[in-house]
Symmetry: C2
Subunit: 337 residues, 2 copies
């Protein structure tokens, strides 16, 4: 049917065009050092033969792979990964780079091998992306190349990192409720001790403080961060002596469970109780009834930031103090508040 192309080389092109290989290389690389005439001539032959440069050879010579590695700790069932990949992909493509992707499935050995594979392939940098904001520890081999941590960080902060600004996110979420006039705001938090739960709680408290409202521990509870957790949270919080008129849920899944409980309790959203989530899982948030107001996690932006940083940060002075960037979580206003 179709034969494997005999792999035309630059020499063949040169021969056919009656020029030297150097010239061909020059037109290939858009070097201005070529007369329009020969240039056209060569281009002609190239098109005719359907020549394609072989990146391996070029790479060997120039030592530039034009590739950047993306290592994910796990591609969870959450849709977060796609946004990270999209962001990284778009930014990479815009700069003529290609993405090498490896998923470690949280296996430490795979991680080590993955780093080696990328080193061997001379990637121009590695992005190590976690599926939720957390501290990580990486093999030392990672230091052989410029790396940026996405949605994670190392305890000693000696690697550049980009994560969501959980505190501000929590504050904005709470303030959104405050601005609607709510003064008793419940917070159904994740019970896991992670940056997201700490940060959002801190933001919640900061918002209260900004409004000169006391922090009432009776208004916050902690559960597993899924629908059932949100469901339980509502029953607990709404049964307090002085129940909240608004609910800040740690994430959209919990908000989904909260919706169910609220409905069972005969409470309407947002009329009786306003609710705001976190994460903006489109699939969920936009389709709940009523559509859920929530905070968007900046996955796309983090992916973008990571490759741009990698491609720009060649300045060794920067490495002395790796940036620890926090990106904003935009408020997505819908009908639940």
């Amino acid at each position: 049917m179709m034969r494997k192309k005999p792999s035309v080389t630059i020499h063949e092109i040169a021969r056919r065009a009656g020029v030297g290989v150097g010239t061909v290389s020059r037109v290939l690389n858009e070097s201005a050092q070529v007369s329009p005439a020969t240039r056209e001539q060569v281009l002609q032959v190239i098109a005719q033969v359907g020549y394609r440069p072989q990146s391996a050879a070029k790479m060997l010579r120039t030592r530039k792979s034009h590739a950047i590695g993306l290592i994910t700790d796990e591609i969870a069932s959450t849709p977060y990964a796609v946004d990270i990949i999209r962001g990284a992909q778009d930014a990479a493509w815009a700069q003529g780079k290609i993405l090498l992707a490896i998923n470690t499935n949280k296996n430490a050995n795979v991680l080590v091998t993955a780093i080696e594979a990328m080193l061997d392939r001379q990637v121009e940098g590695i992005i190590y992306a976690a599926m939720y904001h957390q501290a990580v520890t990486l093999p030392t081999s990672i230091h052989a190349i410029s790396t940026v941590l996405l949605d994670c960080y190392v305890e000693d902060r000696n690697l550049p990192s980009v994560v969501p600004d959980e505190v501000t996110g929590g504050r904005v979420a709470t303030e959104t409720l405050l601005q609607k006039g709510h003064r008793r705001i419940g917070f159904i938090n994740d019970f896991n001790p992670i940056p997201a739960s700490f940060g959002r709680l801190a933001g919640y408290q900061a918002a209260l403080a900004a409004y000169n409202l006391p922090f009432d521990p009776d208004l916050v509870c902690e559960y597993p961060s899924d629908a059932s957790g949100g469901y339980q949270g509502v029953y607990v919080l709404m049964q307090r002596a002085n129940p909240p008129s608004a609910l800040f849920c740690f994430n959209d899944r919990m908000a989904m469970g909260a919706y169910d409980a609220l409905r069972e309790l005969g409470l309407r959203i947002p009329h009786d109780v306003a609710v705001i989530g976190f994460d903006n899982q489109e699939m969920l948030a936009a389709h709940l009834r009523p559509p859920l107001t929530t905070m968007q996690l900046p996955h796309y932006a983090m992916g973008e930031w990571a490759v741009n940083y990698l491609l720009g940060a060649t300045d060794p002075s920067v490495q002395a103090n790796p940036p620890q960037v926090q990106l904003d979580c935009p408020l997505i206003l819908r009908a639940s508040v």
Copy 2:
């Protein structure tokens, strides 16, 4: 802080080990042609120096990239992409291959360039993945390399393809309801004329036929495949003269909307009306109340199949008639039926 490693070559390690470069290469490639003594000797030096082979050079020599390209038409907000990537990734990794990922964002020019980029990089094959089952048309340059179409196909079927078995999926979904004793089963279909809507409807009808039940057009309706579509569908179907006792929804999002409408109508699931979805969007299906029974789309399996096919199908005779594979959609039993 950390210097760029001077890039040790095979020559350097040959010198240090007091052997020829050929020997080093041989131990690197596990060639049996080396005496255990020298072998050990060389390995020692390699470990000591922290030598890493340079894949570009090896690639240039051997013409094997050990890479396979994954082109996605768009990484939608659906979580499907992650499963495809995971499946492909796991299969590739198992065979020592690495994934090159490019997302075209549905841009035809990007697609052409993407294919070229992968060709230049000598990938061993390309997977072109769509985000939902559909017919596609690809640039002819794709024929320069072995390709497999994932969740899509070309009209003339001259490229291998792997897609979900929509018909069987629709049939199993319907039979699941039939087996529960339901005899009037509503089908809320997607109003888009796509393989999924045609196939699932065909499956629905086949199941009815197998039970000797007449096909009643009054029992099927078509809407946009989101929550609001499912919501509308319920109102329409349940108001018919002889309403259904079970609902087969085109997808989980529609089922989610159906839940809301059913609840408004005071109908309990599955007691009053059973409902089954399609897609198994974990995030949704598992967390609805009650958890939704649904059919799983085989994204992971398709990703796996695609790379395994690519890595195995070098036989030119196969290319004469490219396989058009359909993978099963497993039934995910939960509490809604």
